[in-house]
Amino acid sequence: MRKADIQTGATVDFQAVGRSFGKLDVLKDFSLAIAAGEFLTLLGPSGSGKTTALNMIAGFLQPTSGDILIDGKSIASLPPERRNVGMVFQNYSLFPHMNVFDNVAFPLKMRRASAQLIKEKVEKALELVHLADYAARMPTQISGGQRQRVAFARAIVFAPRVLLMDEPLGALDLKLREHMQLEIKRYRDEIGCTMIYVTHDQGEALTLSDRIVVMNNGRIVQIGGPEEIYDRPANRFSAEFIGENNILRLQPNGKAGHWVIEELKQPFASPAAAGPAPQALSIRPEKIARLKAGEARGPGSIAFDATIAEILFFGDVIKYSARLADGALIKFKEHRAAATSVMRVDQSVTLAFAPGDAVLLADE
């Protein structure tokens, strides 16, 4: 499919959208401006309202308050078939009584395209997903990964300006997931539409997105690019939900910008930021280094003793869990190349991290 065939993406605006089911508020004051052509991911744990948000763009659900605009126009009064958005479902939702060709042709037939045009577009779409030879198969006659790609072809064949994907890789095994992530990246480069992607897999979100919206309990917890979300979690929820992290409690030390790290019994200083007082800090496992015997710690770094409690061997990296003096566990990891040798359980180690790598967190 050539870029010229496809319209560019549309903007999508959530304006203070709320949605409740009876007494349950599933989405609360949800405001979000999605740029044209952006790849935006809604990331959050189960029940955080991701599907609800997506279903309101698709038109399966109406907001109970607020409004949603596509290209600046409210879509509240449009039924799903008039919104012109494509959608890929978690369980594919291929029509079981139609073969691959007819499945992909469906949106075009609904738009009353000519038989010639349908044939052309379906073939192009199937080529894009590398399934040109599978047109005559029934959905039961192809593998899970292939079904997923048919669902994708069906969702983009009519050149929608917005493409919604609700955990499209959720049902695939790890290997296939990673392969399909690369595929989606490729589609994304070839078709220009705005993509809104839902997942509870943070790795997937970090890999694919231009921007990530971290959601919890129907609220937006943080919005940012993958690096920002990973390096500077805005709060405890983001810090714990995305990637592995160590959370250490902070006790105020009387002076502004000075604390004691409870677990380490060590002072910690940072220029006091505006906003709610931080109650904890987070430090990524890869930012914690092991000091070899006799090695001096870096200037200003925070060093502490621990004993190895658990070792997880991953081939290229080794993840350790070490017990601190007060019994708390701290995670750190080493790359095989850098590690002199794999440690043993109960071995004593000295660990250190630079204060600049720690992120201050307020509770939510």
Binding site: F60, E81, T140
Partner: protein, 284 residues
């Protein structure tokens, strides 16, 4: 598909013994009597085709057969028209309400066919509830002739057979993934087109099961037409019954019975062929 078939073949092989009791029962209670009927129809006392020639000899039998098929087809169609929407409602209504509605649908099935046919006499007869009511209201002077008409035969047969269509359709509809209908909608189908292109084709299995069962049962009806129909409304079943109980001509009754069976099988096979053709050409 191929893998499925292999798997199926394997499990069928290993679990075949589960079928044995049912097969024995069928052979004993169905195969044997059928064979007996066949033999009775061609031995009287020696080999003869006289009974079959008699069917062809007088137009009455084939005329009644044609009417039996016609009535059964119309009843089946009416059951579909009334039962399909009802089943759809049941499959999509709140579960609590569904429980009560099911009770209403199933209750009549616990009542005997004879009683259900007789009760129409109480309702529709000259001194029946409806006529008395209408006269009382001053809307009519003379009682209406509702009983002993073709319409009443349809009414009574549909009333008896309708639950079957509702149940078979419901059973299939409840399993249709609503996500498919949503997918159709967001891909550009109006509510009506999503129904026509996705929901209805997927529910056809229930329709055809119900239709086949209802048609087969309707072909064998004789109590209901005898009780509520006119003389013109007799079905092949009534003729068979007459031959057995009044003429005591078992040979001829057997021949008529086999005619009914053959006609039923022929129509059902035709129906299935049409359905299969529809399916292999399934497209939007």
């Amino acid at each position: 598909m191929m893998m499925n078939e292999q798997k199926q073949a394997r499990s069928e092989g290993s679990a075949f013994w589960l079928l044995v009791p049912a097969i024995l029962l069928l052979i004993g209670l169905f195969g044997y009597p059928l064979l007996k009927v066949l033999i009775t129809s061609i031995l009287d006392p020696g080999f003869t085709l006289a009974h079959y020639l008699r069917i062809l000899d007088r137009p009455i039998y084939l005329t009644v057969l044609a009417r039996t098929v016609e009535v059964s087809l119309i009843v089946t169609a009416l059951c579909f028209l009334l039962g399909y929407p009802a089943a759809y409602y049941l499959a999509h209504c709140p579960p609590r309400l569904r429980t009560y509605l099911f009770l209403l649908i199933l209750l009549p099935m616990w009542t005997s066919l004879l009683i259900r046919s007789y009760s129409w006499i109480v309702v529709l007869g000259k001194n029946g509830v409806i006529n008395l009511g209408l006269i009382q209201l001053g809307l009519i002077a003379e009682p209406l002739q509702m009983l002993y008409t073709t319409g009443t035969v349809y009414l009574a047969m549909v009333q008896i057979l309708l639950p079957i269509m509702i149940l078979t359709c419901y059973g299939v509809m409840i399993k249709i993934d609503q996500g498919l209908v949503r997918a159709a909608r967001v891909l550009g189908a109006s509510a009506w087109r999503a129904f026509a292109t996705v929901y209805f084709p997927l529910s056809l299995a229930g329709v055809s099961t119900g239709a086949v069962i209802i048609f087969i049962l309707a072909m064998g009806f004789f109590v209901t037409p005898a009780l509520v129909g006119s003389r013109q409304d007799i079905m092949l079943g009534n003729l068979i019954e007459t031959q057995i109980n009044q003429a005591v001509n078992l040979g001829f009754a057997s021949a008529l019975g086999l005619l009914l069976l053959a006609a039923t099988i022929a129509v059902v096979m035709l129906f299935r062929a049409v359905m299969r053709w529809r399916f292999s050409h399934a497209s939007v």
